[in-house]
Amino acid sequence: MPSTPRNRLGDLERVVIEELWTTADAHPEGRTVREVHDAIGVERGLAYTTLMTVLDRIAKKDLVRRERDGRAWRYTAASTRAELTSESLHHTLGELAGDTRRTALLHFLDESTPEELDELRAALAELEARRPDEAKR
């Protein structure tokens, strides 16, 4: 990957949230920029301010939460990795259109019946029968 500044920040965002996820159990109160810097920044030769920028960026995307702790901020991941993966795979068109009436529209997640699955497999079998040369590969 060409290392444009945006890509580099993107890579760092992933490293940082990874750190927040793996230490979430040990530090439910969250981590400060200093702690994150000590954990992952020093060995990578990253400036303290770089990590501050990265955490600020992820916070603006609502992917981490932060709370005041004295003069520092404490950062926690807003959701677990599993929750976020599930969210990204289940965005519905209703949310997208901001209109609940359209939730069902273009939203093809309805459960398939066994008959529908049979029809699907039959359609593929027919296609393979029409093109035996390709099907052998």
């Binding site: 990957m1 992820i58 359609a123 593929l124």
Partner: protein, 298 residues
Amino acid sequence: MLVVAALVVLAVLLAWPVPRALARATSLRRAPRAALVLWQSTAATAVLAALLAAPAAIPLLVGRQVRLSEHWVTLAVAAALSGVVAVRLLLSGDRVGRNLRTARRRHRDLVDLLGVPGEGADRHMRVLEHTTPTAYCVPGVRRRVVLTQGTLDRLGPDELSAVLAHERAHLGARHDLVMEFFTVVHEAMPGFLRCDDALREVHLLIEVLADRAAVRHAGAVSTGRAIVAMAGGPKPAGAMAMADSTRVATARIGLLDAERIAGLPIPVVAAMMYAVSAVLIATPLALYLGAIAELTLV
């Protein structure tokens, strides 16, 4: 005055019965590109006719060929139609565009954080750690192709290349803009006029078009197998996905190697659809220009 009435009638025909009939003409799916052009010209002509109805009356009134007192009903209908359509289109366009972009931005942030990025030519690709096989793309300037680990595990190399060709076709041809145009027009219509089947049909045509690209790349059988492997998987909104409902997937497999429509070779039917599209879009323009020409003749 006939011109104004004709524009109103044209707009109403293309907004109500025509999309309903077109959504039932499923054999046109075998020529997806021409069918999409026909759908686009239908929608654009309806919008144009509605928007031009009131302006077309102006030269007639200025030229004193018609008196307001005699034709006030037609004129009121035309004015209301043009005004309401213009306002609703602007509002709908703003809402749909903003919601789409917000959802996509959020989604891109998520997959960038969660997914392992590809390298080199695949740098727009993100692989999510999830067992359900699914693949989709997030269109836009900072586009993404998203795959799950389950997809990589379950699909063979030819099937995977079919999936990637399908998603690249969506991104390369900006299918999202076609879909956005139809969504804006659809949402601009009042509820009783909206035709959900029409929007669904357009969406299917876009998928069939991307399937064509996959067939060219990886062959019909590999594409068919990929569709079956991905059927039923979840599909995020605002994205264009290989996964669909089972019935839609079955329909798409039947279309992978279609050669004729109603006994005619596909290019012949496609040429006819292009011709109809051109005539459609020319009609409201010709009517409007006719109205203006009458003014200059006076």
